[in-house]
Symmetry: C2
Subunit: 648 residues, 2 copies
Amino acid sequence: MTTHTVRFLPYKQEIKVNDGETIIRAAMESGIHINASCGGEGVCGKCRVIIEDGNVEEEITEKLTREDLEKGYRLACKAVVRGDVTVRIPVESKVDASVLNMQRFSRQTARIIQPDFEDLKEQGLFMPPVEKKYLELPEPSAQNNLPDTARLVNFLALNHDEHRLVVSLPVIRKLPDIIRKENFKVTVTIIRPVQKDRKSYIIQIEPGDTTNQNYAIAIDIGTTTIYGQLIDLITGDVRGETVEFNGQISYGEDVITRIVYAEKPGGLEKLHKVVVDTINRVIRKIIKQAGVKKEQVSSLTVAGNTTMTQLFLKVNPKYIRRSPYVPAATIYPPIRAVGLGLDLGKRVEVLVYPQISSYVGGDIVAGVMGTGMYRNEELTLFMDIGTNAEIVIGNKDWLACAACSAGPAFEGGGIQFGMRASKGAVEDFSINPRTFEPMNITIGNTRAKGICGSGLIIMVATMFELGIIDNQGKFNRDLDTKRIRETNGIWEYVVAWEEDNGIDRDIVLNEIDIENLIRAKGAIYSGCQTLLEEVGMDIQMVERIILAGGFGSYVDLKKAMTIGLLPEMDTDKITFIGNSSLMGAKMSALTNRIRSDVVEVTRKMTNFELSETPSYMDYYMASLFLPHTDMNKFPKLKARLEQRRAEG
Amino acid sequence: MTTHTVRFLPYKQEIKVNDGETIIRAAMESGIHINASCGGEGVCGKCRVIIEDGNVEEEITEKLTREDLEKGYRLACKAVVRGDVTVRIPVESKVDASVLNMQRFSRQTARIIQPDFEDLKEQGLFMPPVEKKYLELPEPSAQNNLPDTARLVNFLALNHDEHRLVVSLPVIRKLPDIIRKENFKVTVTIIRPVQKDRKSYIIQIEPGDTTNQNYAIAIDIGTTTIYGQLIDLITGDVRGETVEFNGQISYGEDVITRIVYAEKPGGLEKLHKVVVDTINRVIRKIIKQAGVKKEQVSSLTVAGNTTMTQLFLKVNPKYIRRSPYVPAATIYPPIRAVGLGLDLGKRVEVLVYPQISSYVGGDIVAGVMGTGMYRNEELTLFMDIGTNAEIVIGNKDWLACAACSAGPAFEGGGIQFGMRASKGAVEDFSINPRTFEPMNITIGNTRAKGICGSGLIIMVATMFELGIIDNQGKFNRDLDTKRIRETNGIWEYVVAWEEDNGIDRDIVLNEIDIENLIRAKGAIYSGCQTLLEEVGMDIQMVERIILAGGFGSYVDLKKAMTIGLLPEMDTDKITFIGNSSLMGAKMSALTNRIRSDVVEVTRKMTNFELSETPSYMDYYMASLFLPHTDMNKFPKLKARLEQRRAEG
């Protein structure tokens, strides 16, 4: 992708941006504040900049006169970078000038990591669970009249070092005719054992050489969406990928309502059928994308949370929502796909990721396996943040996990103008520390409609660091701005005035919203702290953080540390793995090493019920501050705040 | 059973017989000849004896006058022993007197052996493959909220030393509700692994204590009949037993016609369904007999010949009848009973005895396992004699097997007056060495209708030993008797004149019949000889013989040695095991030791295709004599014959 250099004056700051980026986003990335109220639609007309050198692509806007244009003025939100460009931010007041002296941080999101197939091979981690072998068997004769199956098995033992082979009945049934179809030249599909000394299974036999057609499917069953990938087992490439809404949504938005529905007569069967139908749609789509036949698919790996897994397997989840919250099982044996109603070949087995507890499911285990954190020395914190946040802490020696009820704040729930990360959500934010005017950037560069989780974190962190809110999330009542006001006894900050935004009211952030965010981040931080304390360690010892799930990819890491959601550390040590559940499912489709390790990992991982851990409540109470009651846990932030106070 | 002593004069021979036995059978058992032509129905009136002491129960017969009766005369075939009795055989001629000097042999059949459950336990061979355990699980609490399955598995590990447990999906599905039904008191059914280090499977869970209800079913699938036993896995007792004709009989009498039918469109499916239907009838009968519910049956073991096994498993047997005669498989993995259409619980697995080759099947392997010959030092010869005779030779170090096409002679086929062992068949026979008058005893003591296999062997052996036929089975043309005659150029002996027998012609034994018998016994003897030679041994080294199948139980062992069917040895070393296939199936229902050994045995057993073994034809030609061209192989017989010649 083409990149261009954008130089900001008078800040003398440069940034490389992709072709097509707007000036306002380039400024945000550089940590440069430009007043911008509307979210990027060119409505408020406040984000005026001067193009001093180079050219930008622009839309015509009534907010700029011909004279403005001739002087080089443009609206930063509408100016698209198509080449190197020098942009001057007009300094129109003392207030603006003082901003120059502030130490700004550019937004830092986590590096995305994905397992590398070649790398796995190099590490000796590639043990394909399903392999095809082409064989030219000797023809039977009076001197060599071994039974057909023995002929095959002996040949594999002698020529391919394959031992302890079991030939399933359906394969035995077709084997005599198939081996004679192309003159005793056949391709067999072998499922290897997870543990080396166990048996291998021959699950398919085809005439001739079909070794170049061998695929696996990986599925992530989310409560909302179901992702699927078709994986070429020869190359490791993803050959097809799609996502569908989980058909169960019609029966309840979250796991609890689904469980309630499953308890009704016929409810379990219905939810089971509906999710299997969705998965079948996903399967059909991805094999069509790749031009593959379903007979060429050898295995299916599935990961999902505990409730989704039980519904998929038609195991009633009713005890998950009843104290003491026990799932039916953690480890499931391999299950025949057709037995579950899946539209795959008869002998395809489904490998289901094991669960840890009712609220730490296979999606999390898949993440732990996929990231390899269970194999590393470093003390790693794995987080999948949503309404229910799951946390795993540990390294190659030990693993502990817990689920926290963070509440829906990170997904925009319980926030007056909260919304999901969709078009019109303020996702990035900056504030002028003197005028308190905002710089809002919305998803889709459209008029603001609300605030999404990542935007919320940035807002609260920014305001806290500038002293606009205090460590309890209360607004400084003495600031000279119309934007901070009291409405019906609740203090709030106006993010976007009605005339600038896309709805019929002012969009505000109020103290109740901030309180909710603090509770959410406190639940997670204190969860980590409790887990670590239970194993005799401290959260400051965390060396690496892995973020999973949709939310994690957008979080501004520095800001997340500022509010005390993440412990302070070098942002290079924080990585994002996207859909960890799907990644884990894919990994176990590719290598038996994961399959063999997962049982051990599942056993090793200690689940803590935070509600049953006495220290949790204390830690939770102590974390209901920005960033925490104990500032020494955030030494860099502490230093910055002290410096800021000293500078006045 | 009450027994009585019968004393025969003037022979001074005594015998203990069961209450209700006839005098003629007591005489036959003692090796005493009494002329008796009709077979035991009192028609010929030749078997007159004098009761000198004691009493017999008798039928009124016109063959004896009042005067005869007063003198103590009775017909031996109609006189029933009800107390100790002294019987004089009237010596009416010099000819009869000379019979006294003959060394006679009483009929000796093989001892019946059946495995002893207690004995197995003592030998440490009792490793039940399916066991029930009653558990009182701890109730879940906030402090102990393990998943339900983990709760169960951990409890079994800690308190019952059960490890590597796999809980199947159907059990997981019902487990949460079942464990809560009787307050966490449950009974689990565990299938143990055949190899110790492998996994155990929990296949059933029931509320409360049901450990006293645990059954297995053993099935022998014969070409003609299907036997079933219901076995109590707690005591080892057979609680139900039945037999049904194999429903496939309508589609062909023997395996070859069945295979031909199976090749027709839909034929395989039809034969599969029909045999499964028969087995379901057997299952329903035996569980009804025992008052057991099908849910209490935990396992099913099956043995049958290769074709029957393949048809049962819906594996097309077409290559069995085509050169080079290969079966589809030898070893089958455990198969779910319901998947085959069997009317048993969902989780019941069928264990199918492995095959050796197209014509040495699971019925034979079951016999080898059931008898324990694979564990013994002694060189043992195992024979299942029928149209196809299967032979296994070996000991704990090696095993070799072969199938011989003996032809139907032993089952009465290819013999002019041959018949199956049913009512009216001459089953025992003696001959007066001077008058050549026969003593015929028929099954059911009725007028003779024909000759069964065991009767045929006795006739030929007796006539050979008395010089009535020579070592090529040819009648001595010079003997002074009407009974030996030439009809349409074929020499024959009249066993029962038309007026004495139950059919409309004289019943004869001719030279073609004898030739067929010699070919049949020659095929088997030379088969054994070839097998032994292939492993560098000699048939004289055989230390023990095990006879299986219906035929073996009736064979007069000494006579079988005289014709050269069996090698000469102490008759104590010959045992009969009845339906070896059913016995082996029962044994593997009772102990995993058999299941674990059988794979090894199957691998170890070398199958010889006699038609491909060059020496076989030579040995076969050499054995087409009575007992053999090489009389040194039968030293005792040789000595007797020499003595007889010396005595003139």
